[in-house]
């Protein structure tokens, strides 16, 4: 199994490429990064995901060498990088603003880093051509940055940071300026490049879908802390806190008190309502406050009570969000609790089964709801 699945973080013999050890970064008395310890492995596509101002850029700038940790150490290939200035690190960064040199052509922008390495003219030219081909920019080589489109500029920035074949490539919101279609194309391009070059990527984004698409692991950040770092699937299916569950995708959080029942727990969320059962693997005490995280697509919406499900509640449709292929129903159940349920729009809109104010049954399997302590 270890041969087919790329999970170096589960392999105790694997040496991490980057190690953060109790890293804290303060600006004045503001703590931007709060005592973080984590590893990033070679050939990983590591995504930092979080709201604006949570410290993603600061993390990258410490790796690139533009900021020094206030406390703790960062190791690159087992070596403390604190004394190494940015121009001596085998790390390249693609800046959030691209930071292309406006006075240089696309070609010279890409060659800029190579020329610093005292490579021969021919070797530089060959490498630049290679990068231009990779990023499909060959015909724009002679243009200046202001003569090409936003998407092309972004590819120049990518080519420039890739040209030196760094051990580690940092991408700070590389697709922030792109429209949805171009963004998707670029994401696949990035993954392709990563596969071809074997470079380790750390990518910053505040777009969760982007993180899910490209990353081998996603680190969800909040106020200078990594709350959870795991594969996209585990982040989505097994979030460690309600913050993570809420940040990634759509979710309903139901808060209540747990009481052990069989394999799992029953959660009492409202006086009169029947408890919700979840067979989720967690240790909770009798009566402990807990949260149920329920993904809308795991909730079925029917007119009649389904006979085979333990979790079934009745409610009224308050709102419907039409998303084209799907519709999200906002249903008010007992105790005023809102639950989101998603259904595929298999029929035309005019012949939809349910509409506003309809009384419906929501149901989900025993394993659908994730139980969380915080």
């Amino acid at each position: 199994m270890g041969q087919t699945v790329f999970e170096p973080w589960n392999d105790p013999d694997e040496k991490p490429l980057i190690q953060f050890k109790n890293v804290t970064k303060r600006f004045g008395d503001f703590t931007a990064i709060d005592n973080q310890t984590f590893d990033i492995y070679e050939k990983e596509f590591f995504a930092l995901l979080g709201p604006s101002g949570c410290g993603k850029t600061t993390m990258m700038r410490m790796l690139a060498g533009f900021e020094a940790p206030t406390e703790g150490t960062i190791l690159l290939g087992g070596q403390d990088i604190a004394p190494i200035p940015p121009n001596k690190r085998a790390v390249n960064m693609m800046f959030q603003s691209y930071a292309l040199f406006p006075h240089l052509s696309v070609w010279d922008n890409i060659a800029f880093g190579l020329k610093r390495d005292r490579m021969s003219k021919d070797a530089i030219a060959a490498r630049v051509e290679e990068m231009l081909t990779l990023t499909r920019l060959t015909q724009f080589a002679r243009r200046k940055p202001h003569q090409i489109s936003g998407g092309q500029r972004q590819r120049v920035a990518l080519a420039r940071s890739l040209a030196k074949a760094p051990k580690l490539l940092l991408l700070d919101e590389p697709m922030g300026a792109l429209d949805a279609k171009l963004r998707q194309a670029t994401q696949f391009e990035l993954m392709d490049i990563q596969e071809k070059t074997g470079t380790t990527f750390v990518i910053v984004t505040h777009d969760q879908e982007e993180a899910m698409t490209v990353a081998s692991r996603v680190a969800v950040m909040d106020e200078g802390r990594i709350v959870q770092a795991d594969t996209p699937a585990r982040i989505y299916e097994n979030p460690s806190t309600t913050y993570v569950a809420d940040f990634i995708g759509d979710v309903t959080i139901i808060t209540g008190r747990a009481s052990p029942a069989g394999e799992g727990y029953e959660v009492h969320y409202a006086e009169a309502a029947a408890p919700i059962y979840s067979a989720f693997d967690i240790d909770l005490a009798e009566g402990e406050t807990c949260h149920l995280a329920l993904r809308p697509e795991k909730v079925s919406i029917t007119a009649e009570r389904p006979a085979d499900r333990r979790n079934a509640v009745q409610g009224t449709i308050i709102d419907i969000a039409y998303l084209g292929n799907l519709s999200t129903y906002h249903v008010e159940i007992e105790g005023g609790q809102m639950v989101k349920a998603q259904a595929a729009n298999t029929r035309r809109l005019s012949r939809r089964d349910f509409t506003w104010e309809d009384t419906v049954w929501l149901s989900w399997t025993d394993t659908a709801a994730v139980l969380l302590r915080e």
Partner: protein, 296 residues
Amino acid sequence: MRRFALIALPYAWLLALFLVPFGIVLKISLSDIALAIPPYTPTLDLSEGWAGFKDFLAALDFENFTFLTTDDLYWKAYLSSLQIAALATFITLIVGYPIAYGMANAPDHWRPTLMMLVILPFWTSFLIRVYSWMGILSTEGYLNQLLLWAGLISEPLVILNTPTAVYIGIVYTYLPFMILPIYSTLERMDGSLLEAAEDLGCSRLTAFWLVTVPLSKNGIVAGCFLVFIPTIGEFVIPSLLGGSRTLMIGKVLWEEFFNNRDWPVASAVAVVLLLILIIPIILFQRNEQKSREAEG
């Protein structure tokens, strides 16, 4: 109509303040010297009608311009003015660039103050400031007193009435014209460009040469022209600080007008000076145009 008014206004301005005076000077330069008031001939007398105008035109010639080529004083003065202006511009650049750089990299809340300090000298009379340099640079001046007191020299230095004093005066006077355009390009520069350069393997110094300097090129070129152009015709600084040894065309012009009262030759000198200045002025305009296009 509105459009016409908008365009007409600057042209009227140009006509009144530049072309008319230039036409008058050009006319005088084609006249002959005379012991009269005004001290040249012919003067246009419209009472004699068309014939009078024809006589007037016939009396004009290029004699004065030919004269400029016969006496080597003139071309030497032009050449020396160009040399002094070029070297002074270069020194101003060397002094001004670090100041502009420092201003652009100063903390935000300091910048208005620094800007004030650069502009402040303009609030006092130019003449007074040049005179005060005489007080500083003369053999009994403050500079010599200070150096003597500090024991750095035993004999007072002769600076006043030498070319050095002229350079000091020019650099001092025109420094703001160098600093301001360079500052404005440096201030607009995106700081992440330098980080990108470092990230790609540049040291701080190479990043400065490869990124900062090229990106401030427009400011450098603008500043150099703003210093170079007025310096060529400079008259006050060389005559107050330079003594008799400094040869500049502005001084020659003044002497022709007021010592020799030879208005026609003086006008010819001025016309040639203007022709010499047109080249750098056009180059300056093209640089401005190009930098506007690059931004737009």
